[in-house]
């Protein structure tokens, strides 16, 4: 195959040849190529099939606006779909595939869709998949659902690998005075000016090279600029896209670290997601050349004029031999000249009739002409042209390439992210950035400046603006006026040839045609936001960078309005696609969220614990012996606790030190029950309500000294309770002399429970007399020592209902404590028990936890009315009896037994009356367990009216999720030892 590469052009390194594969065939390119330039050099015109119609598509651009050359890079787990070939740097061994085609892009069976176009017009999905009358109900819809999967498969882009991503990604952060986005003449001038004024500057460039559109100039060499920037201490970030601007001058960057390397070092991330916090932002993001809508304007060989200039001068590729350039502005003439110098036969069609342009006459200029139809299917054969006033065939030009320039759109996207609406400029036929109060300044062609000197001047003015806004200087400055061409642009968005039904594309990537826009208008979708969603114009991954303005102009014409009256859609981040991997960074797998472990975590695992997640915490779940299942194990553990003794890690409970002369008053206000008379050396169970009277949390507080308490909270609410106490002390009760300190990490806690627990502890404490029933009665607290001179706190608190102690030591002593307790517990045939057994024990006792206290339950609902003091006011006391909370059909805490004691049930079961099994029923089961003591399954939950109302009634437990139903009876929640005699033993 003949190459399109030409000698003496381009900045590629011809000494370094790179091999790559395209659609399973081998090709060669050079270092410095993009995949697009290498494909063009190898004379490959068709690189993909279009989204809906499967039309052959080529390369339209040389940059991020590309809407045709979307390809898949890599294979297996490194398959990356929808990559723009125009920005993918070539590397040795690169493997790329065309998309949306079967068997391949040159011969695609689904090309038939092209002829079924009228079925695939705008709104196709809405009309089809909502069901078509009279089939929109019943089985008719199923038919459409059946076809849907085939239709959806036919329309689309590349597909993901579906495999775990083998690459790593990183999140990184930086700070600076000024961040400059874009390294064109404006951005570079701004950065240099700022660095010279001693600002700390980051310069961001999405390309691999700095220079911006100057890279398309044949005599441009960026090495001197690069040296100058580096010598000034400017941090240059290439291959880095500023994809979004956020509040307070925060900029999101995506750095592509290894996407251009064939065998990347596995120790460096593929991409880096940067959060930059700047004091000022200068955006010199350039402008994007638009195409023109006319019939068959998507045939491979159509390209923007500026793109062909890039391919010629940067990559040494002459993209056509007989080239027709269609334009409405001055920007194309330098390119036309260079293309003809490089050996192409060039004709320029300029829609304008009255203008002056200096040329050396090496190419023909047809003033007042426009293209209206391309002939050809897989490549361009010829172009039908017409006089621009009325579209009628005047001539057909044989050609192999059509280059388009419908004007330039400043890249105002980043400013749009900040909610700043651009304003339409009639003279330049484009949207220009508006001013903003935020510290953001637009420079260069992204503010509509078309010549280099103006761009440089705007860069310097931009930095002066920044210095003024930062209060560093007070210097007058002015920006050059938008524009800069000798002759004015003449608006030209569409060449409408009425005598043909050929497609005329507005948005190449989503196959949106001019007819689709007209159809949307006919069907009433006349707001731009509706137009966008109905036709999907600008919703592909190029976000309409080339086609949006054309769509707006068509809608404006249909509505007899001007473009500014029609408005424009809002650009939102990201400017170009950001991979999910980069968004997640290192927060994947085990690092998806932080992991909390107790200080005896390893000890627990070494002693056979299976762990379970509780919030962020890893807690022992059960300790299976040999072949025990979860259920075998927890039943054995719970039975052992009731029979002898068990040890359970309870470190995950929240622990708060409360100190200061008003501590007692403070606790008395936040707990619903009285704390004013709690003696030193005693603990009390307490319930906290929210302001609105609902239960927030429960726990214990131990009075260690006159003005010092040790509070425990539930595992799940620990952080919330801590913030709540701080809020009260810092915002509401600022006169109270109280300090609260989280000591959750400082103390390791264990529960020693069961009839033999005191005997075990006797062997573990220095002085067993401190824990006798007299010296440490139920709810007693003592600070003493474990053997080995280990200071500890012991409270006689029971969650299991048995004689039990909670023992706390400093976290450093956790393992020593466990060794000591376990060595002695073994002597009494004790066990280690986990969360599952803990749950069984507490359900038997009817103790509530987070499963019951779910933020909807009042203290009365939980059956804890006794805990609500009537002698004092406290948080929530005014509200706990309000309105609906005092209704007598509230759901009240009860216990449940299956009527047939051999049956089981699940948490989540809905409780219903026997003849009324529907809806939300009359209650719900929140916790279930097998009760080793009772020998059958039991549950806790809520039922309207509580035990008194349903004591002797047979109810039904409906479990529609598991397709299960059983008979239930309601019992007291205190299913074992209701008087609590055991824990006083």
């Amino acid at each position: 195959m003949k190459t399109r590469r030409i000698d003496n052009y381009g900045k590629i390194n011809r000494d370094k040849i790179l091999s790559f594969r395209w659609d399973k065939k081998n090709y060669k390119g050079f270092e410095g190529d993009t995949l697009a330039s290498a494909l063009l050099a190898n004379n490959i015109g068709i690189v993909g099939r279009s989204f809906k119609y499967h039309r052959p598509r080529g390369i339209f651009s040389s940059g991020v606006e590309e809407s045709g050359a979307l390809v898949t890079i890599g294979s297996k787990d490194r398959r990356d779909p929808n990559v723009r070939a125009t920005t993918q740097e070539l590397y040795n061994g690169l493997e790329a595939f065309g998309q949306n085609a079967f068997p391949n892009v040159n011969f695609d069976l689904a090309g038939i869709n092209n002829y079924l176009g009228r079925f695939f017009a705008a709104g196709f999905y809405y009309k089809t998949f909502m069901g078509i009358p009279p089939l929109e109900w019943g089985k008719g819809t199923a038919i459409w659902m059946f076809f849907e999967k085939f239709i959806r498969k036919a329309a689309g882009m590349g597909s993901a690998s579906g495999l775990p991503d083998p690459d790593t990604y990183e999140h990184a952060h930086d700070f600076c005075d000024l961040i400059v986005v874009g390294s064109g003449p404006a951005g570079v001038a701004a950065a240099i000016e700022a660095a010279e004024k001693k600002l700390d500057v980051i310069l961001v460039e999405q390309d691999s090279l700095i220079g911006g559109n100057q890279l398309a100039e044949n005599d441009f060499d960026n090495s001197q600029i690069k040296n100058q920037l580096e010598n000034l201490g400017i941090k240059i970030m290439t291959r880095t896209t500023a994809f979004g601007l956020y509040d307070n001058c925060v900029v999101g960057l995506l750095e592509r670290v290894t996407d251009h390397i064939s065998a990347p070092n596995v120790n460096i991330p593929r991409q880096r997601f940067w959060t930059i916090r700047a004091k000022h932002i200068i955006v010199g993001a350039g402008a994007i050349e638009r195409h023109i809508a006319f019939n068959n304007n998507d045939i491979p060989g159509v390209m923007t004029v500026n793109a062909s200039k890039h391919y010629l001068n940067r990559y040494g590729v002459l993209t056509g031999k007989r080239i027709v350039i269609a334009t409405n502005n001055d920007s194309v003439y330098e390119t036309a000249h260079q293309l003809s110098e490089a050996g192409a036969n060039v004709t320029v069609l300029d829609s304008r009739t009255n203008f002056e342009i200096e040329t050396n006459k090496s190419f023909e200029i047809r003033k007042g002409y426009v293209p209206y139809n391309i002939n050809g299917s897989k490549k361009i054969d010829s172009l039908d042209i017409s006089k621009s006033e009325t579209i009628n065939k005047s001539e057909t030009i044989n050609c192999d390439q059509v280059l388009l320039s419908g004007g330039w759109s400043p890249a105002v996207h980043l400013l749009s992210h900040r909610g700043v609406k651009p304003k339409w400029d009639y003279n330049n036929a484009c949207f220009l950035p508006s001013d903003t109060k935020e510290n953001i300044t637009m420079v260069g062609s992204s503010r509509g400046l078309w010549n280099k000197n103006d761009c440089i001047a705007s860069g310097i003015a931009g930095t002066t603006d920044a210095l003024n806004r930062l209060g560093i200087s007070k210097t007058n400055y002015f920006f050059p006026k938008p524009g800069g061409w000798k002759n004015p642009i003449q608006p030209l968005y569409e060449v409408k040839y009425k005598k043909s039904r050929s497609k005329s594309f507005v948005d190449y990537q989503h196959d949106v045609t001019t007819d689709d826009v007209r159809l949307a208008h006919r069907e009433g979708f006349i707001s731009v936001e509706h137009l966008k969603r109905y036709t999907t114009l600008g919703m592909a991954n190029d976000q309409g960078k080339m086609g949006n303005i054309i769509g707006l102009s068509l809608m404006a014409e249909l509505l007899n309005k001007e473009i500014p009256e029609v408005g424009t859609t809002v650009f939102r981040p990201p400017y170009t696609p950001v991979s999910i991997g980069a968004l997640s960074g290192r927060n994947v797998g085990k690092h998806f969220r932080p992991l909390r472990v107790t200080p005896m975590h390893q000890w627990n695992i070494d002693h056979g614990a299976k762990m379970i997640e509780v919030g962020l915490y890893q807690r022992p779940w059960y300790y299976p012996k040999e072949n025990e299942t979860l259920s075998d194990s927890y039943i054995r553990e719970a039975s052992t606790v009731r029979k002898t003794v068990g040890i359970c890690d309870v470190t995950s409970l929240g622990k708060i030190a409360i100190q200061g002369s008003d501590s007692t008053e403070f606790l008395n206000r936040i707990y619903s029950n009285g704390f004013s008379k709690l003696q030193v050396g005693k603990a009390r169970y307490g319930i906290m309500l929210r302001d609105d009277g609902i239960v927030m949390d429960d726990g214990t507080s131990w009075r260690l000294a006159e003005n010092e308490y040790f509070m425990t909270t539930s595992t799940g609410e620990a952080a919330k309770v801590m913030s709540w106490l701080e809020e009260l002390l810092q915002t509401r009760w600022t006169d109270l002399n109280v300090n609260v300190t989280s000591v959750s990490e400082q103390w390791a806690g264990v529960s020693v429970a069961g009839p033999k627990s005191r005997e075990v502890l006797n062997n573990c404490v220095d002085d067993y007399l401190v824990i006798t029933n007299n010296n440490l009665p139920f709810m007693g607290v003592t600070s003493t020592f474990l053997k080995g001179n280990i200071p500890c706190r012991i409270a006689r608190i029971s969650f299991s209902g048995e004689l039990a102690f909670e023992v706390y030591v400093k976290s450093d002593f956790a393992n020593t404590m466990m060794d000591l307790l376990w060595a002695n517990a073994k002597k009494y045939d004790g066990c280690l028990y986990g969360l599952e057994a803990l749950g069984a024990l507490r359900v038997e006792k009817g103790h509530v936890t987070a499963a019951e206290l779910d933020g909807r339950v009042t203290i009365d609902d939980a059956g804890l009315s006794k805990m609500a003091s009537t002698k004092k006011s406290y948080i929530g006391s005014a509200m706990r009896k309000r309105g609906v909370l005092k209704n007598n059909d509230r759901e009240i805490l009860v216990g449940f037994f299956p009527t047939n004691l051999k049956e089981t049930f699940n948490a989540g079961t809905i409780v219903c009356e026997k003849n009324n099994i529907k809806g939300q029923g009359i209650g719900r089961i929140t916790s279930v367990t097998y009760s080793p003591e009772l020998g059958h399954w039991i549950g806790l939950g809520f039922v309207k009216g509580g035990l008194d109302k349903w004591k002797d009634t047979n109810l039904v437990g409906a479990d529609p999720v598991r397709n299960k139903q059983m008979n239930l009876k309601v019992v007291s929640p205190h299913m074992i030892d209701p008087k609590g005699e055991r824990m006083y033993a």
Binding site: D247, T731, S873
Partner: protein, 94 residues
Amino acid sequence: MIRINCPYCGERDHSEFSYGGDATINYPSLDASEKEWTEAIFFRKNIKGFQFETWHHSNGCRMWLVVERSTVTHEIKSVKPCHPDLQKVVENNK
């Protein structure tokens, strides 16, 4: 991203903070009526523009702050400690 200038820690990302709520509420005494509490808890103005709100520097110094923030632009005019005594200390140290 909102950046909040904590009087103790300096300017930090909003992800270090937890949002509290309306900072202008005068909570009634604990023995006040249900009606007074209902008004304090449930009735809020939906302000367009600057409002005073509490933020907790929960992943920082743990202080509760009053932030004067625009609900339209996220612009922050002032940040002070909630506690009046600490407000004075911060004022005096300026």
